[in-house]
C-alpha cells in the first residue's frame, strides 16, 4: 500500500515539475517572439539602467535589454545542452553496448580508450578541447561531448554485462535468437531506463558546463546572447549594476534546478516500478 502512496506522490511531483519546466521552456523556445526589445540593439544612453517598465530586468553595459537577451540566449544554453546529452547518450550507449556484449579484446580496447578520457579532470579536458578547436557554440558542444560520453559508455557496458547473465537472455539464446535480436530486443529495452535517468540528471550538468565554457570565453562569442557569457560580461558591474549578473544567473539556476528535480523524479518513478517488480 505504501508503495502505491509513494507512487502517487511521485506522480504529483512529476506533474508539478513538468508544469514548471514547461513554464520555463516554452517562453525560452518562443524567446525571440516574447522578447520585449531587440536583444542586440545597443543604446549607450540607456547603459546599466536598473529594471524598469521598458527593460524589466534592466540593461547591460551596452544598453541592451537583459530580459530579451536571457530569452534569446536560452536556445544556446538549454537546447545545446539537450543536443549534447542526446549525442553522448547515443554514442556512449553504442560503445558500451559493443564493449559489454562482445567482451574479450574489443571490450579491453574500448574500455582502455574510455579510461584515457576519464584520466583527465573532466572540465579541464573540455576546456582543453574547446581551446584547441577554437571558440564557438559548435566547438563548445563538441568539447562537452568529449567530456561526457565516458559516463554513458561505462554505464551501458556494466548494464550489458549484468543483463547478459539474466535468465531470459540465456533463454532467448536457447530459443535460437541471434545476437542482434538479443541486443536490440532484449538488452537495449531493459537498460534504457537507468540510462535515461542518467541522461535526465546530466542535462543540468551539461547546461552548467556550457555556461562555464562561455564564461571562460570558450563557448558562444559576443555579441551573441548566452547566459554564461552574460554573467561573465556582467562581472565588472557587480557592485554598480548587479542585475547584469543577477538575472542571467537566476535563469541558469532555475533551469538547472528544474532539470535536476525532474531527473530525480524520473529516477524515483522508475525505481518505484523496479521495486514493484521485485515484490511480484
Amino acid at each position: 500500500m505504501s508503495g502505491g502512496k509513494n507512487m502517487n506522490r511521485t506522480k504529483k511531483r512529476a506533474v508539478v515539475l513538468l508544469v514548471m519546466l514547461s513554464m520555463v521552456l516554452v517562453p525560452t523556445m518562443a524567446g525571440r517572439f516574447l522578447a520585449p526589445n531587440d536583444p542586440y540593439q545597443t543604446n549607450l544612453s540607456q547603459a546599466l539602467k536598473g529594471p524598469s517598465a521598458v527593460y524589466p530586468f534592466g540593461t547591460d553595459n551596452l544598453g541592451r535589454c537583459i530580459l530579451s537577451r536571457i530569452l534569446e540566449g536560452a536556445a544556446a544554453s538549454i537546447f545545446s545542452a539537450l543536443a549534447v546529452v542526446a549525442v553522448v547518450f547515443t554514442i556512449g550507449t553504442l560503445i558500451g553496448l559493443t564493449a559489454g556484449y562482445a567482451g574479450g579484446w574489443i571490450d579491453q580496447v574500448l574500455m582502455k580508450v574510455t579510461m584515457v578520457f576519464q584520466a583527465f579532470p573532466s572540465f579541464i579536458l573540455a576546456v582543453a578541447v574547446a581551446g584547441m578547436l577554437g571558440p564557438g557554440l559548435r566547438n563548445a558542444m563538441i568539447s562537452l561531448a568529449v567530456m561526457y560520453w565516458t559516463t554513458y559508455a561505462r554505464l551501458a557496458r556494466s548494464l550489458v554485462i549484468q543483463l547478459k547473465e539474466e535468465a531470459y537472455i540465456k533463454a532467448a539464446k536457447m530459443c535460437g535468437a541471434k545476437g542482434r535480436h538479443i541486443i536490440f530486443r532484449h538488452i537495449l529495452p531493459n537498460m534504457i531506463s537507468p540510462m535515461m535517468i542518467t541522461a535526465a540528471l546530466d542535462i543540468s550538468n551539461v547546461t552548467l558546463s556550457m555556461a562555464g565554457l562561455s564564461f571562460l570565453g570558450l563557448g558562444v562569442q559576443a555579441p551573441l546572447a548566452e547566459w554564461g557569457l552574460m554573467i561573465s560580461d556582467g562581472r565588472p558591474y557587480l557592485q554598480t549594476a548587479p542585475w547584469c549578473i543577477f538575472f542571467p544567473s537566476l535563469a541558469l539556476f532555475a533551469v538547472v534546478v528544474l532539470f535536476n528535480l525532474t531527473g530525480d523524479c524520473l529516477r524515483d518513478a522508475i525505481d518505484a516500478r523496479g521495486e514493484g517488480r521485485a515484490d511480484a
Binding site: M174, C175, G176
Partner: protein, 268 residues
C-alpha cells in the same frame, strides 16, 4: 531421435560429466535424477551447445535424427534451438523478459525461426493456451511475467517453448522453484503437451516424485556418471545401485512415522 553417446564434459580441468549415454525416442519422457552438481543440467546445456564459456564437450556424440550436433556450425545450431529442441527453465519469471507481455514473448520466439505477423502469433498463442486449459488466454497473453503467479508463468513458458512445435522439450528443474500444489499443474501441462504434439520430453530434476509422475525411462546421475538407467518401474521400484536406493529412501513419505524413518536414515 535424440541420442547422447558417451559424452564427457569438462569445465576447465574439472570433468563434470563422464561417459554418459542415453536415448530419447519419439513421444517418450525421459527423467534424469541426481543431486545438485551431479552434472544433469550440464548434459542439457551440452545438447543445446550452450555450455558456459569454460565448459567443453571433450568426447562423445550427440545425435539428432542421426546427425551429430557437436559438428554443427553455430548458425545451424541456432536453427535447432527452439525449433527442434526447446527448453524450459527452473525460474519461469526470470526466463521471460520482464519488459514484454507473454504474448510478445510468444511472438518473438516464433519470429526467431520464421516470419509471422503479430496477429497470427496471437491467434496461435490463444489456441495453444486454450488447448492447455490455462484459463483466460487473452488475459495471460497481455500480462507481464511479474503479474502472473509462478505456476502460471511456468505453464506459459512451456506454451512459449512449444510455439515452434519442437520434437523435443528439455526441462531443467521445471518445478523446483514452485510450491507443491502448483508443481502438479505444471507436470500436467507438460504431459498434455506431449499428448497434444507428441513431443518427447527430457526432464532433469532432483525431485524423484516429479520424475516418478512423468517419466517412462529414468536415469540416475551421480558425480557426472549415469549410475543407473532403465524403465521407471525398474529404477524406482527395484533399484540396483546403492545410490539409487539411498536417493529413494531420502524421499519423505506421507503418513510415515517420522522417528522410525529418521532412525532408518541414521542407520543407512
Amino acid at each position: 531421435m535424440l541420442e547422447v553417446k558417451n559424452i564427457t564434459v569438462a569445465y576447465g580441468s574439472d570433468t563434470v560429466v563422464k561417459d554418459v549415454s542415453f536415448a530419447v525416442k519419439p513421444g517418450e519422457v525421459i527423467g534424469i535424477v541426481g543431486e545438485s552438481g551431479s552434472g544433469k543440467s550440464t548434459v542439457l546445456k551440452s545438447i543445446l551447445g550452450l555450455l558456459d564459456s569454460r565448459g567443453k564437450v571433450l568426447g562423445g556424440e550427440i545425435l539428432l535424427n542421426g546427425e551429430n550436433l557437436l559438428g554443427f556450425t553455430s548458425g545451424r545450431m541456432r536453427q535447432i534451438r527452439g525449433k527442434e529442441i526447446a527448453m524450459v527453465f527452473q525460474h519461469p519469471e526470470l526466463s521471460l523478459d520482464p519488459v514484454w507481455p507473454v504474448g510478445r514473448s510468444f511472438y518473438e520466439s516464433i519470429r526467431v525461426h520464421r516470419e509471422i505477423t503479430k496477429k497470427e502469433a496471437a491467434v496461435q498463442g490463444r489456441k495453444l493456451l486454450e488447448a492447455l486449459e490455462l484459463g483466460e488466454p487473452d488475459k495471460i497473453l497481455s500480462s507481464y511475467p511479474f503479474e502472473l503467479s509462478g505456476g502460471m508463468c511456468q505453464r506459459a513458458a512451456i506454451a512459449i517453448a512449444m510455439a515452434n512445435r519442437p520434437g523435443i522439450l528439455l526441462a531443467d528443474e521445471p518445478t523446483s522453484a514452485l510450491d507443491v500444489t502448483v508443481q502438479k499443474q505444471v507436470i500436467e501441462t507438460m504431459m498434455q503437451m506431449r499428448k497434444e504434439f507428441s513431443a518427447s520430453i527430457l526432464i532433469v530434476s532432483h525431485n524423484i516424485g516429479v520424475i516418478a509422475k512423468m517419466a517412462d525411462f529414468v536415469g540416475v546421475m551421480r558425480r557426472g556418471q549415469m549410475v543407473e538407467w532403465g524403465t521407471k518401474e525398474e529404477v524406482l521400484y527395484s533399484p540396483e545401485h546403492d545410490y539409487t536406493k539411498a536417493l529413494i529412501r531420502a524421499v519423505p513419505k506421507m503418513g510415515g512415522e517420522l522417528p522410525a524413518a529418521a532412525e532408518e536414515v541414521g542407520h543407512g
